[in-house]
């Protein structure tokens, strides 16, 4: 019986105008977004490779002297990722590079690459299409499920047969779900094909696996809006009331809540300003310098002799200052990242925020990409530092005092340029990705479960007359 009902509903849905418009609009948007992405991706890739080569040349140049390698500032750029077709995550507003030396990670430049004179706009990616357009269509598919049939008088007729209410509502839910799957899957496949054949952007099997996981998440997200639709239609008497309530729910949860993060963060999760942090660093620095001055008063008078007996004290003092500064900067970066995350977690009362952060987690784009990139930069600096220390140890002529103020009290020998550790951005494994995304996925499922029960209760009590 359920199957019969589903087939009937499905036939109704697929022949309706709303389905046709949904399909056409989704496919048009997918095509536009894919072409925009492919163009930008290739540009970014060319730039990135050029910068990589430059960075490598500099490394090779500096490999003739270990001390200049140690103090060299490398500019490491965020690698463009193919997953930005799926979710861009506002990466264009985040820093795209870090300058790193053995001694510190410099504060990144926060310069947006878009034309500031233009109004802000959302990137058109899959997540945009699913979060805004398909969720809108999900509502359009379900807002009159009960009220429409009621006004036609067919609902009474249907329920006068030996069909349970739960069968009726399940059939409506499942058929709507199948209906929305069609533009979703067609869109995704079309986009991948276009990217592969017209854009020469091919996805690896790991990426495809992530995309499949993403598609399942998208389905759970769209299901929430369908359940919203079914719930409201089961609580109202006519379709117009139902649609207006639903559209307001949609405007608030899909547009207003996800965008109010900046205000929430500024109000509830205040963090110190950059100036305050700089002051903190200066205070710490004078504190350390005072402590070490007492230990050895000559520490800060440099006379150019790398083997002077007080150089180790100087080295210790300078490194203590550098470590303190690096720690403060590192903590501040984490504070800033966490501020955004906390603001987002409050916004998770809207399924759209849950879905968009879930998709950034799955794709490792947006803030997640930035955070992961930063972690790798931190690791890389430690690795490079280790390498410099090890290489310096193997040089018997070196005084072995490595610190950032002077370069002479350490090895001046050339290094094998192939042995220098290079920064290579790593891809997150599927397991780790899923692990990271699990909590958001769970929220989506909870949304679904709660709404599902609510729909059953509401429809069970619906007055069909």
């Amino acid at each position: 019986m359920l199957i019969n009902l589903i087939l009937k509903e499905l036939k109704n849905n697929l022949t309706s105008l709303r389905f046709l418009l949904t399909l056409v609009l989704t496919l048009i948007m997918i095509i536009i977004s894919t072409f925009i992405f492919v163009g930008q991706y290739h540009e970014k890739l060319t730039d990135f490779r050029e910068l990589e080569n430059k960075k490598n040349e500099q490394l090779i140049d500096n490999s003739n002297n270990l001390s200049s390698l140690a103090s060299q500032q490398q500019t490491i750029h965020l690698s463009p990722t193919r997953m930005e077709l799926i979710a861009e995550g506002g990466i264009k507003h985040l820093p795209k590079m870090f300058r790193v030396s053995t001694f510190q990670i410099y504060e990144p430049e926060f310069v947006s690459t878009e034309n500031n004179f233009m109004n802000r706009f959302t990137n058109i990616d899959w997540t945009f299409i699913i979060a805004f357009l398909l969720s809108f269509f999900a509502i359009l598919l379900t807002y009159d499920a009960a009220t429409g049939e009621k006004s036609d008088g067919t609902l009474r007729l249907l329920l006068s047969h030996s069909v349970s209410r739960s069968t009726v509502i399940s059939s409506k839910y499942l058929s709507a779900l199948i209906t929305i799957v069609i533009p979703l899957i067609l869109g995704i496949i079309l986009s991948l094909l276009l990217a592969a054949f017209f854009g020469q952007v091919a996805y690896s099997s790991l990426e495809i696996a992530k995309i499949i996981f993403y598609t399942i998440a998208a389905l759970f997200y769209l299901s929430i809006f369908m359940l919203f639709g079914l719930l409201v239609t089961s609580l109202t008497k006519n379709s117009v009331t139902s649609i207006i309530i639903l559209l307001f729910i949609w405007v608030i949860s899909a547009i207003l809540i996800p965008n109010s993060g900046g205000k929430i963060a500024a109000k509830f999760f205040q963090i110190p300003t950059r100036e305050q942090i700089d002051q903190q660093i200066r205070d710490k620095r004078s504190e350390i310098s005072d402590a070490h001055m007492a230990e050895y008063e000559m520490t800060f008078a440099w006379n150019g002799d790398p083997r002077a007996e007080w150089v180790p004290y100087r080295c210790r003092a300078v490194n203590a200052m550098a470590d303190a500064r690096n720690q403060i900067n590192h903590d501040y970066m984490n504070q800033r990242i966490n501020q955004v995350k906390r603001a987002k977690s409050i916004l998770k009362i809207s399924p759209t925020t849950v879905f968009s952060s879930l998709s950034e987690q799955i794709c490792t784009t947006g803030l997640d990409h930035f955070e992961y990139f930063y972690q790798q930069i931190v690791d890389y600096r430690n690795q490079l530092r280790q390498f410099i220390i090890e290489t310096d140890k193997s040089d018997p002529d070196s005084p072995h005092q490595i610190y950032e103020w002077e370069s002479s009290p350490m090895s001046q020998k050339p290094v094998n340029s192939n042995a220098i550790p290079r920064f290579q951005e790593k891809e997150l494994s599927l397991f780790k990705t899923i692990q990271k995304a699990l909590s958001n996925f769970a929220i989506l499922i909870v949304f679904n479960a709660v709404l599902f029960i609510a729909v059953f209760v509401a429809f069970g009590r619906y007055d069909v007359r």
Partner: protein, 512 residues
């Protein structure tokens, strides 16, 4: 007769769920968002006053002309509570210095830059979304609904003409929407009046009234689109679907696509190239200074106040200088300052070209989608709230005018030719010694040098009471209206056109 129909429609609408839900929601959102944005406005205001204070503090603490710099600060706009606009992200603070013509502003309210991934919510966004949706939801079953109920036949069988019916229904629907609109704006205004730190002037009220009129026409354009679709369809459900798809395309799809189109069709030079060009000019300037110093080397000796001398930046502060240095700087400074102005202008013209391309890209977005009521509404509101691009550009040019005033001030004080430009020491006090003799302990030169030591702290500051202060000139109401008029006429024309089209379709509507 039209009035009767209008009244009937109006009363009918008032008791519908869509009216009640829409109005309550609008009011709740307006109150919440206004309160949040007022807090943001207060912060900006604080920072504005702080900047003014720091500017005064700096001017009171100046000893020599070369260290003068001035701050041009734009006061926060009260109407930015309604619409943050483009100027929200372009900054409001410019440091006006001799060596650089201002071309961009910095944002003094520095918060976490990572928060930029969030977009911005203001009253304008709420109005844009809610009123367009409400208009479509009020209009979609205007005719198809009555047809389904069978009342349309009935009505037209009486002595009502189609024209009267059409006009009456549209006026009635718009009247109820206007009620919500007026409530929304009034409550926005009321919340602002009740908050102690926001001072509402008459002009603000007038501007809000104009915003009300603009929003009315914006809402009307969607209402008429809805009515037109309704006259083209025979079932309300179909009409609703088509209306909502139109909405998605106009409000969500088109504005985003237009930006991409502009980026593709009107590409701009990379900012990196511009920065390199500017850097090259700066280098050229520095080379010219260096070559001057090669032919006329600067006499050695003298002590500068630590960290306070930057020859290329044009910033000198000598604690002590010897007589030869006085002679040198008397010739060097007029030369270097003239060169500095010349290169500041050159660098600015490079920057200006770039700004022009940025602006034309932004204008392309506006022009390419000007047919959409959403775009017209956005342009008009930005103009009326004084948060549009032109206002920001005007602020920058005011800052440049302020720089000219500053340079004129220097000229009127003959600042480049007096020694007060680089030291507080007078020429009479300057020791006639060379550096060689100074560093021989116990020598005659050393004694003279020691005697010439002066305490800056005991000397008076430069009196800068007559130094020009930056006063931001707000765009006048008449100028705003003048700017808004063409787009506003386009919006009204859009309404008239679609009204006529709707009417034409209605006369051919099959009411059976």
């Amino acid at each position: 007769m039209i009035w009767h129909i209008t009244k009937k429609e109006f009363y009918q609408n008032l008791i519908t769920a869509r009216f009640i839900v829409g109005t309550i929601l609008t009011i709740v959102l307006v109150v919440i968002i206004t309160l949040i944005l007022i807090e943001e406005y207060n912060l900006k205001n604080e920072s504005y006053n702080n900047n003014l204070q720091q500017n005064e503090n700096h001017l009171k603490d100046v000893y020599v002309y070369s260290e003068i710099e001035s701050r041009a600060v734009k006061p926060p706009e009260i109407l930015s509570i309604f619409h943050g606009g483009i100027s929200r992200k372009l900054g409001n603070l410019v440091y006006v210095r001799r060596q650089e013509a201002p071309y961009q502003a910095s944002d003094d309210v520095m918060d976490n830059p990572l928060l930029k991934i969030f977009q911005y919510v203001d009253i304008f966004l709420v109005f844009k979304l809610i009123f367009s949706l409400m208009a479509l939801l009020f209009a979609f079953d205007l005719f198809s609904g009555e047809k389904e109920n069978g009342t349309l036949k009935l009505m037209l069988s009486s002595r009502v003409s189609r024209a009267q019916l059409f006009a009456g229904k549209i006026f009635g629907g718009m009247l109820s929407l206007t009620l919500t609109l007026i409530l929304g704006i009034l409550i926005h205004l009321l919340v602002m009046i009740l908050s102690p730190k926001v001072f509402i002037t008459e002009e603000i009220v007038v501007r809000l009234f104009i915003i009300l009129i603009i929003t009315f026409f914006y809402t009307a354009s969607f209402f008429i689109i809805g009515a037109l679709v309704s006259t083209l369809t025979h079932r309300s459900a179909t009409s609703l679907t088509m209306n909502l798809f139109t909405w998605v395309v106009l409000v969500i799809g088109l504005p985003n696509i237009a930006n991409y189109a502009a980026e593709r069709l009107k590409p701009i030079e990379s900012i990196k190239i511009i920065n390199e060009k500017a850097k090259a000019l700066q280098k050229e300037f520095e080379n010219k200074l260096d070559s001057y110093s090669e032919t006329n080397p600067e006499p050695p000796g003298g002590t500068v106040i630590s960290g306070s001398t930057d020859e290329y930046g044009g910033y000198y502060k000598f604690r002590r200088a010897n007589l030869n240095q006085f002679k040198f700087y008397k010739h060097f400074i007029p030369f270097s300052e003239n060169l500095r102005q010349e290169y500041a202008d050159k660098i600015y013209s490079v920057r200006q070209n770039f700004l022009t391309t940025l602006k034309s890209q932004a204008n392309f977005v506006n022009q390419s989608t000007i047919f959409s009521p959403v775009r017209m509404y956005q342009i008009l509101i930005a103009i009326m709230t004084r948060t549009d691009l032109e206002n920001h550009i005007d602020f920058l040019s005011q800052a440049r005018i302020h720089r000219t005033q500053m340079l004129d001030y220097f000229k009127s004080k003959n600042a480049y030719r007096v020694t007060r430009f680089f030291t507080i020491m007078t020429e009479q006090e300057a020791p006639d010694v060379t550096s060689a003799s100074v560093f021989q302990d116990g020598s005659e030169g050393d004694r003279i040098w020691e005697r010439s030591s002066i305490e800056w702290e005991d000397r008076p500051h430069l009196s800068l009471e007559d130094f020009p202060r930056f006063i931001y000139k707000n765009e006048s109401l008449s100028r705003s209206l003048q700017k808004a008029l063409p787009v506003f006429s386009a919006l009204v024309f859009f309404n008239v056109l679609f009204f006529a089209l709707g009417f034409y379709c209605f006369t051919r509507y099959d009411v059976r």
